[in-house]
Subunit: 395 residues, 2 copies
């Protein structure tokens, strides 16, 4: 256990394991540039951790902002320093890939409230000298986007060529097109919705309750105690993970296969392969993610409801938009079913916006946006090339 106040970038777990080592670029905003949060509080100072890939062109017209999902980070196209795994969107982003790094400049930042270097609940509250814990105000998707805008402007970029993201990342994309429509030339919201559904709030609440039920959560002040709510966070992750897949994918991958041999063991150990798989998902997740950040991320998604600011009329949110939209959904995604993307398409149509829409046929569920789905990649390549021509990035 650490005796001194912890470094916000290195959280020491029980047993003194150091689990976070963000080594990316950071930009710090001081008291002169506070972030006006939806909660009505100015956050200052604050830090954004980010990575860039490719080269920004001379007139700064080729920048793409990639927005990550609930438990993602800014290592979208380079190995994670935590897990050593390749960038989480390596299939999509790279030279010769749909987000072609020989053509575009990619920015990807850890979201506000995250745990990979951007200011979040594990960061030091300058007033107390202790980690914020849950004293950090509840954050919204709009707050995350506000922070991203400050980052984008720090590059001198006036208009992003594209904003792309899936799930919670897709929510940020939508928020960008509503908050700063003139800064977004093209937008690709993937596997997402314009508001979080009752069922999705329900699953998130179950996860939060699992974290908060863990006595090691300690009202969110576990950092100082040298403990972490591993068990509760693992249960939260396991629940969420089931919702990321589809019944068909689980059946195909695991069925009722047993872990050891053909005979039931009549025990409460992990006997079915699906059980070991879930336990593994839970235990590896807690090594890389902060429980309080999980609370903030899920809450931000639950709060998300674009139409709420427009008397419930989603079309009004997009009125006058000149952004080119491409919506993508996956047929077996039951967390953000195709109907939710279609609702957004209808609203965009009603607002006379430019919109294309692709429903990718797959049995892999919500997680499809992170997987090698050729139809998805083809759609992305086609849409981005067409937008790049319109933007004058290619002849």
């Amino acid at each position: 256990m650490s005796e001194t106040a912890p470094d916000p970038n290195v959280i020491r777990a029980a047993g003194s394991r150091e689990i976070y080592h963000p080594s990316s670029d950071v930009v710090d905003f001081g008291h002169d540039k506070p972030l006006a949060l939806d909660a009505g509080i100015d956050l200052a100072p604050f830090r954004i951790a980010y990575n860039t890939y490719g080269t920004l062109n001379a007139d700064k017209s080729n920048a793409i902002l990639i927005c990550h999902a609930l438990t993602g980070d800014h290592y979208c196209a380079s190995p994670s320093p935590i897990t050593g795994k390749p960038g989480w969107w390596n299939g999509l982003i790279g030279e010769g890939k749909p987000v072609d790094l020989s053509r575009y400049f990619v920015i990807c930042s850890n979201v506000l409230g995250g745990c990979m270097g951007t200011t979040g609940p594990a960061s030091i509250d300058p007033e107390s000298g202790q980690p914020y814990g849950i004293d950090l105000p509840v954050l919204t998707i709009r707050d995350m986007v506000r922070a991203q805008k400050m980052l984008v402007e720090s590059f001198g970029i006036e208009t992003l060529f594209a904003v792309i993201g899936g799930s919670m990342g897709g929510m940020q994309v939508l928020q960008w097109t509503v908050s700063y429509p003139d800064m977004v030339f093209a937008a690709v919201p993937i596997a997402t919705g314009a508001r979080h559904s009752s069922q999705n709030i329900a699953f998130h609440e179950v996860g939060r309750q699992a974290v908060m039920a863990d006595p090691d959560w300690r009202g969110g002040r576990y950092y100082e105690k040298g403990v972490r709510p591993y068990k509760g966070l693992a249960v939260a992750r396991m629940t969420a993970h089931v919702t990321y897949l589809s019944e068909q994918a689980l059946h195909r991958k695991f069925g009722r296969n047993l872990q050891h041999g053909q005979k039931l063991g009549f025990k409460f150990d992990a006997e079915f392969q699906i059980e070991s798989y879930l336990r593994h998902q839970g235990s590896t997740f807690v090594e890389r993610f902060d429980a309080n950040s999980y609370l903030y991320m899920t809450r931000a998604m639950d709060y998300f409801d674009i139409a709420a600011d427009y008397d419930g009329l989603l079309a009004n949110a997009f009125k006058g938009s000149r952004t080119r939209f491409c919506l993508v959904s996956f047929s077996s995604d039951w967390l953000f079913p195709t109907s939710e993307s279609r609702d957004i398409v209808h609203a965009l149509n009603a607002a006379a916006a430019s919109v294309s829409f692709v429903e990718v046929e797959t049995d892999k569920g919500h997680d499809s946006f992170l997987l090698d789905e050729p139809d998805f990649y083809r759609a992305m390549e086609g849409f981005l090339s067409s937008a790049a021509r319109a933007r004058g990035l290619i002849a």
Copy 2:
């Protein structure tokens, strides 16, 4: 905290609240009548708690066995002594109702491994003089049905007119028709499947992990410590509860409605109505249900796979069956979707069994079998009346 060994029928919770007071009929089986469990162990002695409704006729041909679901009990048509609520199938069972008590004699027992009077993990292990905890062997649906058969035979009943149940109750119905085909004249498996799917095992595993992650679970030996894993069991119940409903039902009932007024509170309290609802479901459940029983019930469902004993060929399980089947599914049930009932219907057809099948249109999800669904009741009334005529119970 209790200083003496607890009475198996009264579990004292922390703070000495007595939470279980089963007051129904019981039948005790001694060492001369052991229950041969699938785990390869003889269970003796053991007790079954049950209720009966209506009158058994002279030739004992009008008996209906009602099988309860995961967290149900034997109070299907009379108020629960724990909650004071009406019988859980009051809409279906009663004079003039589809299961007409002026015509049929209904038996409903608490399943083996339960916590309402039948031998389960909270019962005293005669060898140790302490509650079994998880030293009781893992139980199967077939074990539950074996115990029910001994209860039915204790009435001198040779053939049940019908066996009826939903969800885990439906699994018991199916097991009855396979284990003791000649004892079942008519069978009504409702909202169930012939095997537990990978996704369903996954959700159960999450629930078990939530219970076991609670430090008050104490490896299953919480009874002696005067504590109970309330928080873990509440999380398990909350997760399960989401799966019992449907996205549409949640949207209709709660949508994104806030608990207090129209403004977001920027807190981690229950702000959305769905959150308070779930927390309420969790906290009331733990007052009436034993955490270890929850582990046993979910495990029994996970183990269920009728075809496994027949080289994976479900039709072979029903070969030569003379039972009349009526399968019922609900269109918005995603835990046991209609396709699972249809698989059973196909197998019964292949086995040349008598089968009818009703898919009830409703948006209320899996829980529909416990709700007032007129189409469901009509189907039940029609099927049972027709079977009663064939059985000579009515002219």
